[in-house]
């Protein structure tokens, strides 16, 4: 036994599967008016045959066309999703589309005013095949109806804009910024030597002033701590040199953590030994 919602679902699916067949045009009429508002052409075209005489258009003319789109089965007006008029030049094959606005009852009107025509039309005189293309999502068969032939009579513009050609653009030759000039190598080497001179001064001055090593003799264990402490500091400096050359920051921080713990412990012991020694008045 069918329940009501199953029936509804079935009806919905059936509706979705059903597609309408095609379109029929009726009441197709064209009119051409000159720039002085003189109507020079007014015809009714029997669909589905085309208009046999060529339609002449010069600059300033206004071409109008009206028609009604109906569904082939229900014979009611439809508003298709796509409706446009194409002008295909018989000389160079250029196609110019004009969008047609179709109202909900199926009635449509389209106008091509030569005064505001696209540049491609104004620069390609000659015969153009006029076709009407109608399509919709709900209908299976689209319609392409050859309305007639337009004879476009405009002066040949030698410097008309050429149609847009899509393709690769000219290659860009990028010039990279030239390298920075380095100083001459002998200058760099000599300054390297000059920078090392203050070190010599320091070692000489410290030797002259006299580094106080009496601590070493008196309190050997804190002397040992002092040596290890200074050694750890030297190790940290060597670690920094390695960090500059080849280590990354995580390895450096790992080593630094370890070395700084050692330095802290030995430094504390060494410095407290020095402090004790100083408070005893021997310094």
């Amino acid at each position: 036994k069918f329940t009501s919602w199953r029936a509804f679902l079935l009806a919905l699916l059936t509706l979705a599967l059903v597609q309408a067949e095609g379109f029929v045009l009726s009441d197709v009429k064209i009119a051409v008016t000159t720039s002085e508002s003189v109507r020079k052409l007014y015809e009714s075209i029997p669909y589905p045959s085309s208009f046999d005489k060529p339609i002449q258009l010069t600059s300033g003319d206004d071409f109008k066309m009206i028609f009604v789109v109906t569904d082939k089965q229900t014979q009611k007006g439809v508003q298709p999703h796509q409706a446009f008029l194409t002008l295909t030049s018989e000389e160079n094959g250029n196609q110019i589309p004009i969008i047609v606005r179709v109202r909900e009852n199926g009635k449509a009107k389209v106008e091509l005013d030569m005064k505001s025509a696209p540049n491609e039309l104004l620069s390609s005189p000659g015969n153009h095949s006029l076709d009407l293309i109608i399509g919709a999502f709900s209908h299976n068969d689209p319609l392409k109806y050859h309305v007639g032939t337009l004879e476009v009579d405009v002066p040949i513009q030698s410097s008309g804009p050429s149609p847009v050609v899509y393709g690769p653009k000219p290659e860009i030759h990028h010039i990279f910024r030239p390298d920075e000039k380095l100083p001459p190598i002998w200058l760099s080497y000599s300054f390297m030597a000059i920078i090392l001179i203050p070190w010599l001064f320091l070692i000489g001055a410290w030797a002259y002033i006299g580094v106080n090593v009496s601590l070493l003799a008196n309190a050997p264990e804190s002397a040992l701590m002092s040596l290890i402490f200074l050694g750890t500091l030297l190790g940290i400096e060597i670690l920094f040199y390695n960090y500059w050359t080849h280590l990354n920051i995580f390895q450096t921080l790992t080593w630094l953590a370890g070395l700084s713990i050692v330095a802290f412990i030995t430094g504390q012991k060494a410095l407290s030994g020095v402090q004790k020694w100083r408070s005893m008045g021997l310094r």
Binding site: L187, F191, P198, W206, N212, F240, S260, R278
Partner: protein
């Protein structure tokens, strides 16, 4: 005139070497060393331009920072100033100096590139 200046310098030098404690003299030697390091680096930069600017800055800031830290150490370990620094013993000052120098060297090495 010039021998007055030279005799004044002479007296300054003898007074300095006699009256300044040895530890302070050591720090003074270190200060002079750092000063000349910075001066030479600056002269090099003036001569050849600042091409690897970060390298020059790293080296120069290293000398300036070390100079400041050593001057600080000198001030804090001077026995004449002991009244102002009651809570900071000379050993604590030295430990601070070492720690700050390590941190400064780390950042300098980072910046040299």
């Amino acid at each position: 005139m010039s021998d007055k200046v030279s005799s004044a310098i002479q007296r300054l030098w003898t007074s300095y070497s006699k009256n300044t404690p040895q530890s302070l003299q050591l720090i003074d030697a270190y200060l002079v060393f750092i000063l000349f390091s910075g001066v030479f680096q600056f002269v090099h930069c003036v001569l050849v331009g600042t091409f690897p600017y970060n390298a020059f800055l790293a080296g120069f800031i290293s000398t300036v920072g070390s100079f400041v830290l050593a001057a600080n150490l000198r001030i804090q370990t001077n026995p004449d100033n002991a009244a102002e620094f009651k809570s900071i013993s000379p050993e604590r000052a030295f430990a601070d100096f070492v720690f700050c120098s390590i941190v400064l060297h780390f950042f300098v090495v980072n910046f040299i590139g």
